[in-house]
Symmetry: D2
Subunit: 188 residues, 4 copies
């Protein structure tokens, strides 16, 4: 499938986040030719303010450029208050402007989530899917990876040890790769 560069974004700033750990697992489990770079800058972005658009700080430019240069995104989201964290939505808000030239436009994206609860972020994933309708991104539908009771799937060092979850994550990455390949066909 040629070489493929995926940008991984975790919605959690916690050091021991299972969502960030999912991204590290994705680096291990990526199919041949796919490389997963972890972007860890969402915490350094200012709050989105339309008045700042003209003089957006460098951190915003870096985010936009990294998304633009990637072949696809892998987003791992925790669930806060039945939705994605504000800090993650804020990164999407910045990346979505200006609408006509947003790097999110048509971008292949895979969403995963992890949470210690019984429901694993299922509502946050649904809410994020709604955001990516506006940006007309190309979001993987299946398989879905919703890591509930995440404390049972990672070891103390934050390594994903649950075999079923590893397989499912591999499937998500394959589905993302298929979207990237299809987008190249269309563009060619």
């Amino acid at each position: 499938m040629g070489s493929m560069h995926v940008l991984g974004i975790s919605g959690s700033l916690r050091a021991a986040s299972h969502n960030s750990a999912l991204l590290r697992a994705a680096q291990e489990l990526a199919p041949p030719g796919m490389e997963v770079e972890i972007y860890d800058g969402i915490g350094t972005l200012p709050h989105y303010d339309q008045d700042l658009e003209a003089e957006a700080p460098e951190s915003v430019g870096t985010l936009r450029r990294k998304i633009r240069e990637s072949d696809g995104l892998l987003i791992a989201t925790p669930e806060y208050n039945y939705g994605p964290p504000g800090v993650l939505k804020n990164a999407i808000d910045w990346a979505s402007r200006p609408a006509a030239s947003s790097p999110l436009l048509h971008k292949p994206i895979a969403l995963v989530s992890a949470a210690p609860t019984n429901f694993g972020g299922v509502r946050a994933q649904l809410a994020l899917r709604q955001a990516f309708l506006w940006t007309d991104s190309d979001v993987v539908t299946k398989p879905e990876l919703i890591v509930f009771r995440s404390q049972d799937r990672f070891d103390d060092a934050g390594r994903l040890v649950d075999e079923a979850t590893r397989e499912l994550l591999g499937g998500v990455l394959e589905a993302l790769a298929a979207k990237v390949v299809a987008s190249r066909t269309v563009a060619a």
Copy 2:
């Protein structure tokens, strides 16, 4: 109905925001006994990070205290990417912790939105309602105020001049007042 202190929160940081202008209009239109204070600090909050909980900065403490001391909230949200702005969700994320003692618990809340589009933030309002399920807040259902094509309802100085919208906003504030009164009855 006795005196009532409402905290107004705008989800937009823009100086000329129509959502912020809705809050100013609410100050004019509040029913007798209701005072609306505008909190304009969401842009000064850090990004939510669970690791910072123990040493949350003063801005977070101020937000939580202001919510706790209010009788109810009036939240005006723009719509970014079919949802509430990250910066507004971030404020909610901070206010929602720790869950058992969150100042949002059972808090009467009214949601309004304004946008220059044909749909006026209808999707952002729905998504916010979902957030306040988790916090078990007491959110006004009707009337709904969704200010579409907001540029037609405000004058250049940001004053709400559309009569129908003013009336609807008054109705929202009455409904919020009724929830505050009911919550006092329960508590009494």
Copy 3:
């Protein structure tokens, strides 16, 4: 709290439905003074057709009357395609008209769900909550009862045997009762 008549509606037509079984469990677990009647007529309603409003069949009149005469509703929903079953939504569609005099207006409602999946109908519950915004119904927020892997909570005769679930269902009924009491206070 005086006597209270709750109408139970299951969104599933299956004979062995765990959602219908939840309603039977609610009959056992209702707090003193609350009686739960099970309405099992949603399968006999015609498909909603606005052209039939003027001559709506008797089954529709019965549904509307039963809702009107009840103090509150207990709705148990399965999840089909990430939403409530069409047959349940159809009953709500009939009950919601005409809007100004709908028996759902301000009606206290508790929502529960059961499913054999890991997620127990969480998405269907969220979607139903959205429907009851339009009708301005008074929906219980907490506790939430989402019976995932429902086959582990009921015995072969369809009796709810899981103690934690029984307790949670009792809590839902208490919360519904509190809404009924509050609505009487307002009306008085």
Copy 4:
């Protein structure tokens, strides 16, 4: 693009429905090679009942066959109670089973909506998108067609006369055609 057979499904049973009228407009506006057949049988389907799966009536078999034989679906939905009509969801519920061989699997689908309100069914469209995640259908994201104040866009005979809406509908059909072509490429 070769010949293409699209099945149109209206969620409204009303004779004078603007959603049904949108489908007729689509027949006029279809790009060269695309034919739009209107399926008007959703009102004849029984309510979904899993116990009937083994002996599903002929109407169900017809729906499933028509979907399977189509290259894509065009679904026009009204909004009842902030969601799609029960009768439309019921048709989807039948079509979605059994999951592994559902004719909705990977099916290209375009969603449109019309309503006399200011918001034109925007919430119903969002809710339907959620349903088609489960079925892993391939739903057109843009352009979106949300016909608000629909009475202003159709003449008394139910002909779509608003030029901007006609153009947008044409764009939706082009986007659906592109998905059909892409699905053939993958399958080839």
